[in-house]
């Protein structure tokens, strides 16, 4: 982030500036001290390089521990222990019970070694170039989206005015790589998966965008940092003004969750790699490190979308209460991000997969109309911003009704004819 942007932000934020403690500024201070050792003309480049390296390092590790956390969480959801074997046997200074196992936390590194040392198999009939490019591009595209996420009060890699547009442009490119992978593999399962991926991206790009637009409408900006700033108020210093705590925001968040699940190919929308039908979908013909790259990209995409959800609806890096601001903002962001990911894992541990026609029908017949209604709802909310006193209650009631009634009615029509049944018995 360049310094002018920073000063601009600080000017907008008297409260925030006051709360900028030593910890809050620590990442920036570290960066600035490091950069000062170099000649001035190279400093801007170093600024960006440090951002990139920081994101790669932090989210690389985050990815690694997400995989092990997912496996352990899923294990516990399923009454198993999950991976708990991989450890660090040489670290003799650790207490005994940690020495050998370390709760399995070194599992991702063992996995990485395994993925790196596995043979890279490319089918003879495959389109070699595309087959190689797909995993490379998928990681590249999924990393691009991190550029506009505000990780903390002062931590945003690139301050863009149209950050949201950039985010969706970069994010939806990953689906193209899935198509590349599926097409290039010359495998029928991969091909089916590629087609599904395309159908899915076309269907879910729209509700994802439509669920975000109300935020833009109310906040009046496309900049992610400013959207977070717009949520930085508290009633009585306790109740945060996050968008999720408004009727349209809650609805928007739910729509966003569903669409994000679909965009990141997570259960229950993991159709492109539907294990029970398509073996591994577009990943069928990938092995070793290329497979690991796809895996990584999937988690990067999930993390980025979770980060966006945190930014747009959960107040970004804002603390939930005014007096909790002493905790650095980036920790709040990470905490919320972890919460989102845990929720995604929980959903994955519970739900089953939709069929492709049901998936698209859910999008076009349910999510898109509901998101459009929610857009009107947000417009109503923005127009009635001046209402106060008893009118405030009316505003809340109307807004809630505007979203709950269509949800119930459309939900009923969507699930028409499908209900648990009662059965007769013969004796």
């Amino acid at each position: 982030m360049n310094s002018s942007g920073l000063s601009l932000l600080s000017a907008h934020l008297p409260v925030a500036a006051a709360a900028d403690g030593l910890l809050e500024r620590l990442p920036l201070t570290l960066r600035d001290t490091f950069v000062q050792w170099f000649p001035a003309p190279t400093q801007w480049l170093l600024h960006h390089l440090i951002s990139i390296v920081g994101i790669l390092a932090i989210f690389g590790l985050f990815f690694a521990f997400t995989t092990v956390a997912e496996r352990k969480l899923l294990g516990r959801l399923q009454n198993r222990l999950g991976p708990n074997r991989a450890g660090v046997p040489k670290f003799s200074f650790l207490p005994f019970h940690l020495k050998h196992k370390l709760f399995g936390l070194t599992q991702p590194f063992a996995d990485a070694v395994k993925a790196l040392t596995k043979e890279d198999i490319v089918p003879a009939a495959a389109d070699k170039l595309l087959h190689f490019l797909a995993p490379v591009l998928v990681v590249a595209f999924s990393l691009l989206t991190f550029a506009v996420l505000p990780f903390g009060r002062n931590l945003i890699p690139v301050e863009l005015d149209a950050a949201l547009l950039y985010f969706f442009a970069a994010g939806s490119a990953t689906e193209l790589t899935i198509f590349m992978a599926g097409w290039a593999s010359r495998n029928k399962y991969s091909l089916l998966s590629a087609m599904r991926a395309l159908a899915q991206v076309i269907s879910y790009e729209l509700p994802l965008l439509l669920s975000v637009i109300p935020v833009v409408l109310v906040a009046g900006t496309l900049s992610t940092q400013e959207i977070v700033v717009a949520q930085g108020f508290w009633t009585f210093g306790l109740l945060p003004h996050w968008f999720i705590f408004t009727p349209w925001g809650a609805a928007g968040f739910l729509l966003f969750l569903v669409a994000a699940l679909a965009e990141s190919n997570r259960s229950p929308f993991d159709l492109p790699e539907a294990e029970s039908e398509l073996i591994a979908g577009h990943l069928t013909e990938y092995s070793g490190f290329k497979y690991a790259l796809f895996f990584m990209a999937e988690y990067f995409g999930l993390t980025a979308l979770s980060g966006l959800g945190v930014t747009l609806f959960l107040g970004g890096w804002q603390a939930p209460c005014a007096f909790l601001q002493f905790i650095p903002s980036y920790l709040w962001f990470m905490g919320k991000l972890v919460g989102m990911i845990v929720f995604f894992i929980w959903v994955r541990g519970t739900l089953l997969r939709l069929r492709i026609d049901q998936l698209t029908r859910l999008s076009w017949q349910f999510l898109v109309p509901l998101a459009l209604i929610n857009l009107g709802n947000a417009a109503f909310w923005a127009l009635t911003g001046a209402w106060s006193g008893p009118l405030q209650i009316v505003r809340w009631a109307v807004s809630a009704a505007l979203i709950v009634v269509p949800f119930v009615l459309m939900g009923r029509s969507l699930t028409r004819g499908q209900a648990p049944r009662t059965y007769r018995y013969a004796t």
């Binding site: 899923l74 029928k188 259960s267 539907a274 039908e277 541990g349 739900l351 089953l352 069929r355 499908q418």
Partner: protein, 395 residues
């Protein structure tokens, strides 16, 4: 059902072709059809089973099941082994329910030899068979949800309960799955009172698991959308194709060999047969759940009424067993359908002809009819709801 209007095949199968033919592609908006070989190595074919599927987009226009990847000629092995020696091999037919396969074989041999079975053994057989039904059905509903795309959660809950029953089997018979428990004229070991108490406690707690399981899944909207109206099986067609067991009853046809033949001591027990109305995958799933609840009832009655006494008929012979020349067909209601054994004796220690009537192979007869017009995702669910075990299909 009137037999006259039961035209053998409502599908183009009747026209003498090898199954429904691939739809002719005429309009330019439909491209080529895609032929996918699902299996023998596929996560959802429940073993080494193969479906050659022709797809139009994701819609199945043709499906041919291919068998034999696990064929070991079980029948030939049995014809070269003594009657007793085939008993452990029947464990491996349907490796999820060795107790019921054991019983079916013992039943056929007892019929062939005119062997009596003491009361206590009859009760024990029913206890084992119904415990096996719990094992099989809980496995099935778990696997079905895996086919539906859960990340193993329902399967592992089901396996957790199955594990407890398998522990019981292990402490009684010495083996978890390959029980080898039944003998001609009785059972091999007598359970202790502690074992019976533990089993009874387990059975009493089983409905709690079922309730939790149903809360989790039976009302789930995605589950309803995925299974209701999928793979509908018409009752008349099912009867003609020899579909038996829960698949038939899901179509609403009341036929349970436990009731019809009343083998063993089943007529002494009070239980009901759940019947479906639609014959779709959801009904087939619910039949399993409801049958488990009925099995719990049977088990509770069996534990209550279990008589004392010997577990083997004194006239039964372990070695040198030579039934008189003749033949017999014994059939039982195994958890998967009607399991029959057809035995021909020529008076020698080995059966002259030993034939297994495998329920799952015959239940697969209508797999294609059930899958046509559905998507590839549905085909694995339909296959899962039929409940096949390849050890039995291929023998």
């Amino acid at each position: 059902m009137s037999a006259a209007d039961l035209s053998p095949f409502n599908s183009p199968f009747a026209a003498g072709t090898a199954g429904p033919s691939v739809r002719a592609v005429k309009d330019p908006f439909h491209g080529d059809l895609l032929e996918v070989s699902m299996g023998p190595q596929h996560p959802s074919t429940h073993g080494v089973f193969r479906m050659v599927v022709t797809l139009d987009g994701e819609i199945i226009v043709k499906l041919k099941p291919v068998f034999g990847y696990l064929h070991r000629n079980h029948e030939k092995i049995a014809e070269n082994t003594s009657y007793l020696g085939s008993m452990p091999y029947t464990d491996r037919l349907d490796y999820l329910c060795s107790m019921t396969t054991n019983w079916a074989y013992a039943l056929a041999v007892e019929k062939l030899a005119g062997q009596a079975v003491p009361d206590r053994a009859q009760y024990l057989r029913i206890i084992m068979a119904e415990l096996t039904r719990l094992v099989n059905h809980s496995c099935l509903v778990g696997f079905l949800f895996n086919d539906l795309g859960t990340s193993f959660t329902p399967l592992l809950y089901a396996f957790r309960e199955r594990e407890k029953i398998l522990d019981l089997f292990e402490s009684l018979t010495g083996s978890r799955m390959m029980c080898n428990y039944q003998r001609f004229g009785g059972c091999r070991v007598d359970p202790t009172p502690e074992w019976l108490a533990a089993a009874s406690r387990l059975v009493d707690n089983f409905p709690r698991f079922l309730d939790e399981y149903e809360t989790m899944l039976t009302g789930n909207e995605i589950m309803l959308a995925r299974t209701q109206g999928v793979g509908v099986l018409d009752a008349a067609k099912a009867v003609n194709a020899g579909i038996t067991g829960p698949c038939l009853r899901a179509s609403g046809y009341n036929y349970d060999v436990r009731k019809v033949d009343g083998y063993g001591f089943y007529p002494r027990f009070d239980f009901r047969v759940p019947l479906g109305a639609h014959g779709d995958t959801y009904d087939r799933y619910m039949m399993r759940v409801l049958e488990m609840r009925e099995s719990v009832k049977i088990l509770q009655q069996a534990f209550r009424d279990l008589p004392a006494g010997p577990i083997m008929d004194p006239k039964s012979k372990l070695r040198g067993f030579r039934p008189k020349a003749g033949e017999a067909y014994g059939r039982t209601e195994s958890p998967k359908g009607e399991l029959g054994f057809f035995l021909v004796s020529d008076g020698s220690p080995n059966p002259y002809r030993y034939r297994v009537r495998p329920p799952t192979l015959i239940n697969l007869t209508l797999l294609e009819d059930m899958c046509l017009g559905h998507t590839i995702a549905d085909s694995v669910v339909i296959l899962g709801s039929i409940d096949i075990v390849l050890g039995e299909v291929d023998r």
